[in-house]
């Protein structure tokens, strides 16, 4: 088990460096630079001075080495679009709305999806099964910006119950949370239904009945646990994906979260912010998969104990 964890940590570090090189190269291969101006042209002399000041006149491998040396010391530089703070300060500030809305979206979507999937599996071919299928299919196929627009249209424009956008008072959170919840809910409803049906048809369920366990115990102690194992691996990566902010949801509801900065940092060649965002997501996904795999092994004795026969 310890060897397994070490091996996985090593692979995370490798992934981190490979991703950093690829992103660094891709980022710099986009034509133009951060001080090209655009609306407000900058004189050539000023631009060259700025480039020199930020080391952008150096060869790429020097820039990369300098950047990574900074990363090792947890110095991610200063964002060009907001030079008054460090990249880490900006991330810390912008992450709050994304984490809150995305996290709450997961918190609402996952249990709802699991309940829906369970009900669908237990009452197969009933109205609730069809409802679950409809919710799952719509949730996964309708793009989130369409869902967001419909939510705004119904609850803000027509009914006037909730504010359409912004960040601040909790009632502004409700619509984006619903928008965030759709995909986890749909995914979990689908997975849960098929995993439960799969488990319910296993011969051991008949054995559990034959030995006189109550239906409740069979369901909660055995069927749910067996069905939940495959779902555990989905949870953390999905959480990272949701809680780092959706570009679309944040744009639709004008939430000042991380999603916005993804777009703006690429558009303005804000190299330090762009690198930091992508590296952060990479690390979080790596850790999420690592934890999921360890959790999966812990829940599943076939992996935890290997295939040894006694």
């Amino acid at each position: 088990m310890i060897g397994y964890v070490l091996q996985r940590v090593l692979s995370v570090l490798t992934t981190f460096f490979v991703v950093s090189i690829i992103i660094f190269l891709m980022m710099h291969s986009i034509p133009g630079g951060p001080f090209d101006g655009g609306d407000m042209p900058v004189p050539d002399a000023v631009r060259e001075k700025l480039n020199a000041q930020y080391g952008l006149d150096q060869p790429l491998y020097v820039q990369y080495a300098r950047y990574m040396w900074g990363v090792v010391r947890l110095d991610f530089g200063v964002p060009f679009q907001s030079p008054g703070e460090t990249v880490l300060e900006l991330l810390g500030r912008a992450w709050v709305p994304s984490l809150v809305l995305g996290g709450l979206g997961m918190l609402v979507g996952v249990p709802l999806g699991m309940l829906l999937g369970m009900a669908a599996a237990l009452r197969r071919n009933s109205w609730i099964d069809y409802l679950a299928s409809a919710v799952a299919t719509l949730g996964l196929t309708v793009p989130v910006f369409v869902t967001s627009m419909l939510l705004i249209l119904v609850f803000s424009v027509w009914l006037g119950w909730l504010p359409s956008s912004g960040w601040g008072e909790p009632q502004r959170w409700i619509l984006p949370i619903i928008a965030y919840a759709t995909i986890p809910m749909a995914t979990y409803a689908r997975y849960m239904r098929s995993a439960m049906l799969d488990t319910l048809n296993k011969p051991f369920v008949t054995v559990l009945r034959a030995k006189g366990l109550s239906e409740r115990r069979i369901l909660f102690q055995h069927v749910l646990r067996n069905s939940a194992i495959p779902l555990v691996t989905v949870f953390l990566p999905m959480f990272i994906g949701t809680a780092t902010g959706s570009i679309f949801v944040e744009a639709m509801f004008r939430v000042p979260g991380l999603g916005n900065y993804f777009v703006s940092s690429i558009r303005t060649r804000d190299y330090p912010l762009e690198m930091a965002l992508i590296l952060m997501i990479t690390v979080m996904f790596c850790i999420a998969y690592l934890i999921s795999d360890i959790l999966y092994a812990w829940l599943n004795p076939r992996i935890r104990h290997g295939g040894r026969r006694k």
């Binding site: 009945r209 006189g212 239906e215 004795p301 040894r308 006694k310």
Partner: protein
């Protein structure tokens, strides 16, 4: 168990298993698959009964029906009487049925490799069975589980208690399965092809174990098998089934020495390896009947050498032949 005692008449051994005119059908899109078509048999306390038949003869389904282990729907069950230890299982509620299962009637299955929940240890699964029927501490239940594993001749039982199903062999798992089935002292054990999925070398050991335990525990045994050899070694009485019906019922001695029904005789002839294995392998010509479209009359008539016009149109009734023998055939 105690709750059911008032049903048993005092002073005589009431049957533990009563099946009378059992019908089990599985409705399909194109008609009903009638798996069991009027089966009757019973089992007295401590008695051992073999149910022999080809796959699809309805032998497993009959046992699953009396344990109420068939999902209804899709299965449709009717019977004049279907009872375990005097309790009408057709009228019993879910709760009462769960109490009966395991404590009055236990069951072991064909494939031990898929019979345990893969995420719990063997010990946990035996302990939960004990605790489902009796209020004991986990510590006491674990001690009982350990004793049971030792009783089913598992070496190193303490280690097996903490093992997971994937770590054990099929023979080992079937022993553990038997231990689990016996954990609440059932009055009857249904063994549904308990050795079919096992190595030949292990089969004999498991059969011997079941036989010994039956004597030890004084429980009834219903051995469901397609193998007459298994029946010869383990039971007192045999029910021969074919096409969802009982063809013959007799003591194991009579079944082998003076079979009454042409199907039983055909089965006996087709046992391979008799007389030093020199005889040719004889098979019954034809195939077993399609349960969704069974033949009229006696289900065996298309394969029966003695069949005449009456066999093709009318099903013969069960005819008593004395000494507990009975058979359903026009040509007795």
């Amino acid at each position: 168990m105690t709750a059911t005692e008032p049903f048993a008449p005092a002073g005589q051994t009431a049957p533990i298993v009563e099946i009378e005119d059992l019908q089990v059908g599985f409705p399909q899109l194109d008609g009903t698959v009638q798996a069991v078509r009027g089966v009757s048999f019973s089992l007295a306390a401590g008695e051992s009964l073999g149910i022999v038949g080809e796959s699809g003869s309805g032998k497993s389904v009959s046992c699953m029906a009396v344990m109420r282990l068939l999902r209804t729907p899709p299965a449709r069950i009717t019977a004049r009487r279907l009872a375990l230890d005097g309790v009408d299982v057709m009228a019993a509620g879910r709760r009462q049925m769960a109490e009966l299962r395991g404590s009055v009637a236990a069951m072991i299955f064909q494939d031990p490799m898929t019979a345990f929940d893969p995420v719990f240890s063997i010990g946990t699964q035996i302990v939960e069975t004990i605790q489902a029927h009796r209020a004991t501490t986990t510590r006491a239940a674990r001690a009982e589980a350990l004793a049971l594993l030792e009783r089913v001749e598992i070496r190193n039982a303490a280690a097996i208690l903490d093992s997971y199903p994937h770590q054990l062999s099929g023979g080992m798992l079937q022993r553990a399965m038997i231990a689990m089935a016996l954990s609440c002292r059932p009055r009857v054990l249904f063994a549904d092809e308990p050795t079919t999925a096992l190595d030949v070398t292990v089969q004999a050991q498991i059969l011997q174990l079941i036989k010994d335990l039956q004597d030890d525990f004084g429980m009834g045994l219903v051995m469901v098998t397609h193998d007459l050899g298994v029946v010869a070694e383990t039971v007192d009485r045999v029910v021969v089934m074919y096409g969802g019906r009982v063809m013959e019922e007799a003591s194991v001695h009579d079944i082998f020495e003076r079979p009454a029904h042409p199907y039983t005789r055909a089965l006996l002839v087709s046992i391979p390896g008799q007389e030093g294995g020199r005889r040719r392998l004889t098979e019954i010509p034809g195939a077993s009947p399609d349960p969704s479209n069974p033949p009229t009359g006696c289900p065996f008539h298309p394969r029966c050498r003695q069949a005449d016009a009456r066999c093709r149109t009318d099903m013969p009734a069960m005819t008593p032949l004395g000494e507990g023998r009975r058979a359903a055939c026009w040509r007795l």
